[in-house]
Amino acid sequence: MLHYPHNRCLAVVPAYNEQDSILSVIQSVREHASDFDILVVDDGSTDETLHFAEAAGARVLRLPYNLGIGGAVQAGFSFALEHGYDRMVQVDGDGQHDPSEIHRLMKAMEADRSIDVVCGSRFLTPDHQYPAPISRRTGIHIFAFILSRIMGQRVSDPTSGFRLYNDRAIALFARDYPHDYPEVEAVLMVHHHRLKMTEIPVRMFLRSGGVSSIGSGKSFYYMVKVLLALFVGLARVRPVPEPGEANPVAAEQGI
């Protein structure tokens, strides 16, 4: 087990109705990444997710209603910022991310201090066998193609949520994180703010329980929506307000 004594590390586990998998995810993070504090963000679950997470001894943010993955993860960023964490990794509550790979994300970040975001990619291993439906893989590859052109570097898996963030990225995303399907747009924000991102190959599991936020029928809707968000995001006047500017979330001034 590697230790990073200078960093305070937080593992954020967003979970929405994941009672079948949340326990094993928490135990696995504890086992494989023992120097990470665990924060479960319960996104308004209606099942036993909350109680299982609390029984497992994790700290839990209890959102009063379902915000969607973007709002849940942003709550994690805010928590990390407020409590002075300088490393944050997102590990989905459905068990598709493998906590034993966290230390590899950490190693990649420690190897190059200029890197702000390390992303675990499913598609970097030569024998990548990610058994997702073809409709979803097509969407992922289209996003990957577009983002690679924009970023000027290869982005192979822009929909992966298995990411490690440093303090700069935490501060950025605590202020502004995209809404519904945030991962793709977040890559664009990383680019806009001149942060550095890199990818390392990881294995991912198929979901071990619960229902994905993206059903197969919704894949197309998802793709169109993210494409819209991407192109609007490209043309956005101010991606994120700089200190001293108007708050994007504020009482309305005019009509």
């Binding site: 700290r59 959102l63 915000l67 709550a75 805010s78 928590f79 407020e82 979330v249 009509i255």
Partner: protein, 136 residues
């Protein structure tokens, strides 16, 4: 334009104006949302009363029948209002998202503080003292 439709248009616009003003007076409608409604009522009223302006507007837009120009303007305002409400809704959902996040973070902090206090050996006496201070 026939006088009957003119009367209907004027009556409708005046009714809208009165209703909006009454809602604002009773504080059921915030001024910032009332402004667009008032503006549209006034413009529709103005065009209904002032026939020449409506004629010219219809001509400028290539509409043969002047009353249609009135409907067009009214429809334009309705679209504008709907867009305005979509924007307002986006803002509100953004605000409620931030509140939910802050709420969850604060709640977690309170729970942690309460647990920490419960573990303090002197917590019982402290609790009783503060209860006594608050009185019955």
């Amino acid at each position: 334009m026939e006088s009957r439709i003119q009367v209907v248009a004027i009556a409708g616009a005046v009714a809208l104006l009165v209703i909006v003003l009454e809602l604002v007076r009773r504080r059921r409608l915030m001024e910032r949302y009332a402004l667009l409604w008032l503006l549209s009522a006034v413009v529709i009223l103005g065009l209904a009363v002032w026939q020449d302006a409506l004629q010219q507007l219809a001509q400028a837009m290539g509409i043969l029948s002047a009353p249609n120009a009135l409907f067009f303007v009214a429809l334009a305002f309705v679209l504008l209002l709907l867009l305005h409400f979509s924007a307002a809704m986006s803002r509100l959902s953004d605000q409620s998202k931030v509140i939910a996040q802050r709420h969850a973070i604060l709640e977690q902090r309170v729970r942690e503080l309460e647990e920490a206090r419960a573990r303090l050996p002197s917590s019982r006496e402290g609790e009783e003292a503060s209860l006594a201070r608050w009185g019955r």
